[in-house]
Amino acid sequence: MQDVRARPSVRAQFRRIFQDPILTVALIGSVIFVGLTIILPLLSMVGASVSTEGAEKLTNYIGSPVYQTIISNTLVMGVVVGAVGTLVGFLFAFVQVKLDVPFKRFMHIMALLPVISPPFAVATATIVLFGRSGMISRGVFGVRYDIYGLDGLTLALSLSLFTVAYLNLKGMMEALDPALDEASANLGAGKFRTFFRVTLPMLIPGIASSFLLIFVESIADLGNPLVLGGNYEVLATRIYVSVIGLYDTTAAAVLSVILLVPSLTVFMVQRYWVSRANVVSVTGKPSGRPDTIKFPPVRWGLFGVVMFLCLLILLIYGTIFHGAFVQVPGVRNEFTLSHFDFVINGIGAEAMQDTTLLSIVATPLAGLIGMVVAFLVVRKEFLGRQALDFGVMLGIAVPGTIIGIGYVLSFNSPITATLPILGEITLLPKLTGGQGLLGGALAIVIVYVIRSTPAALRTGTAALSQIDPAIEEASISLGADNARTFRRITLPLIRPAFLAGLIFAFARSMTTISAVVFLTTPQTKIMTQQILNEVENGRYGNAFAYCVILIGIVMLAIGIMYVLVGSRTGAERRIEGGGR
């Protein structure tokens, strides 16, 4: 990669960083964090896969037609869901920002809903609605539709994951300088030409990173293929069975290495592409209000498409809500509160408290670490900058099951060191399992953090790369130090990204399953695992009751975060309204 600006030497870069104590702490802290919580567990897994036994298994898998089908299934699913999810997210964001249509608030809420429930809740509702005896497919249209397989997975996964693209692209579209559109119009370009030649190219980084996140998340997803995969086998479920059923960690490691290849490839392509296509648009210079599109076919056509999707989402969540209050959803529709009784007075209360508490602890940590690393990566030049970014992203690029098993392998016994004078000391106590530190709660919090940080990092870097460094340079020249600049200038500017990161982190922690499924202990129970148990045992009503409560908790938390983080500060107003 060629940079037009002259680069200071590596030593000079580090000298500059180490002159600033806060920056030093941030950098060293980030590196230790990534090394200990992501790299180490991953190395434990990779280590297992390059053993003699692992290499033999790898050869067998690659050569087997069955596994070739599974690998291609996984890739096809990732690409389809990535594309559909990004498209849906784009449509929602576009209608939200660029069109003057009614029900925007409703659309916004519908777009946020999917991220706040466990994916298999959507999958389960999908079966109730569109399954072979589904309320819609069978009840309304009288067809026995076979939802199991790629089509069902695409529907459930796209609807579960598109929110990432929506939040990402909405933030970027809002940040685009309308002056560019005006300039394009003034130069004689039509709306379409302006959109395809000016607006779209500036959104490419957002589109690409959305696609990446959705691709990687979908191929790593466990809940949906377990519930409605049918005979469409994917790597994630294969890994899950090797681990949970056979405890064949070597096979799991080998399969995850296979799964890592596409994840990391897409990730690299995206990095290269994004870095080339990056456009600075938030300049801090005066700009007007964004222009809305008036052309009726576009305006009402897109409105119709998005409203249809909203109704679909509403239907799915309606099914979840309805199902929580009836005996057997779709079969015996008599009203009952027995599911809530089972969940609240039976086994759910403890899991609910634990999960909420752990998520509350993890959320600010993930948001802050994500933003700090984003700041370091985008704004500072140092050796290993790319590696740091890469390391944090591994938290999401690596399938959750592998992270979970990596944790069990790495942290199931204390990590000790023998020092010359002090003798043996415990560097890190046992974190996972029944007698783990704090009942295994710390390990779960760390997993929540590393699984959420990448989203915060991506939204953070996407937002930061849209902001002209000149604004921060001005702050530095006026005498503020790095930390003050970060806090007073950078953070307020990326506030929407920060907020998105926090919301995502909390919702994700509350709804994640694959990474923590092996880390729950008798002392620390996790709601999603309880829900999966209920789904697995066919008690959809109990599962839906859990989901309703979970959605309630997450909504409340989002409301609180909006109040705490959402309000604009003076710095932001001053910069945006600078010219007036």
Binding site: V66, R238, R332, L438, A483, N537
Partner: protein
């Protein structure tokens, strides 16, 4: 960022730790529970009331339980393992994962339902069956299956479900049932080809069972994680026939699927499970585990299941038997060799996972 804000952050971190500490419950008996969740709740709550010992549990399928016990053998998280087919207990015992406990309470249990070396004892018994949705069957134009051959009918393509034998004890029981039937068949053709001198099915019998499951694979919609899950898929009308324990089908009928689900049994004979119980080697709460062990064998403890529609048969002859329970004398059951099943469990589940489960269907 000043010293003050650093201080503020460290305060927050400390606060987080205090919060986390709140999560950790006091010292308890931890049970690894394999039957359905609501039975686990009822059983642990009843024990807590009876003894005053704070009891918590984790619910995992049979295969998952075995995997987790093996993984944490050096430092067990659980003290007692309650429920799930005995094959898994035998497999665990072969690896030295169970603690010997010569409980006096076990004397009440018939010899055929326990390990004579006192490693595990049966707490319930139940037979495998077919659980079918009558509406779906009618639509497909077939009758409820009454033989294992019936499951291979082309009409049932994509309309049969069972669990994955690696995770589910139910599915493994179903597998070993076919092994037993295959061994009987081979033995009838030529003496000595079905069973070896120890009375265990031969490798040829196992191979024949794999052939059967490869054919059945074409009709399977998906392999679930938990053994009872296919039953609810049948109830919802997503599949026609579930291969599950018959008591799980009765439970579903009791809980809303009456008139929708029917239970049938294969005429060749069906397999059955002895729901096992054992204390884990190195149990952190050994004394409490022994109290649980003794208590779980009493008639009173074995009468809790029916209160939550878990209608397995009790192993204690004094315990009352629900009218709804499927009695073993009324159906044809195979000569299920639990010892051989347990010894072959891991090899079979691994082979099933490698050969059958991931294969594409046509």
């Amino acid at each position: 960022m000043s010293v003050r804000s650093l201080l503020r952050i460290s305060l927050l971190v400390c606060f987080a730790f205090v919060l986390l500490n709140g999560v950790v419950a006091q010292e308890t008996l931890t049970v690894l529970c394999t039957p359905q969740e609501d039975w686990c709740v009822a059983q642990t709550q009843a024990f807590q009331e009876a003894t005053g010992i704070q009891t918590s549990y984790v619910r995992l399928s049979s295969g998952e339980s075995l995997a987790r016990i093996r993984a944490s053998a050096d430092n067990p998280e659980f003290s007692v393992w309650w429920g799930g087919p005995a094959d898994a207990f035998i497999a665990a015992n072969e690896e030295g994962l169970l603690e010997d406990y010569d409980s006096e309470a076990a004397e009440a249990i018939p010899d055929s339902y326990k390990d004579l070396d006192a490693n595990w004892v049966g707490v319930y018994v139940g037979a495998l069956g077919f659980c079918s949705n009558v509406d779906v069957l009618e639509e497909l134009g077939i009758d409820a299956p009454t033989s294992w051959e019936d499951l291979l009918a082309p009409e049932l393509k994509g309309f049969v479900a069972m669990a994955h034998p690696a995770t589910s004890g139910t599915a493994f029981t179903a597998f070993w049932t076919i092994v037993t039937l295959a061994a009987d068949e081979l033995e009838a053709e030529e003496e000595g080809t079905g069973y070896d001198e120890d009375g265990a099915p031969t490798e040829a019998a196992v191979d024949n069972a794999f052939e059967y499951y490869a054919a059945l694979h074409q009709n399977i919609l998906q392999y679930t994680r938990s053994g009872s899950a296919p039953g609810s898929l049948a109830g919802q009308g997503e599949i026609a026939v579930a291969i599950i324990f018959s008591h799980d089908c009765v439970k579903l009928q009791e809980e809303g699927f009456e008139g929708i689900l029917v239970t049938t049994f294969p005429e060749e004979g069906t397999g059955y499970e002895i729901g096992g119980m054992g204390i884990l080697k190195g149990a952190p709460e050994l004394e409490a585990a022994k109290v649980w062990f003794d208590w779980a064998l009493t008639a009173a403890a074995q009468e809790i299941g029916p209160t939550v529609n878990s209608l397995q048969l009790p192993t204690n002859p004094d315990a009352a038997v629900s009218e709804l329970a499927v009695k073993l004398e009324e159906i044809l059951v195979v000569e299920y060799n639990f010892q051989a099943a347990g010894a072959n469990r891991i090899a079979i589940t691994e082979r099933f996972d490698a050969e059958i489960a991931p294969a594409p269907t046509e």
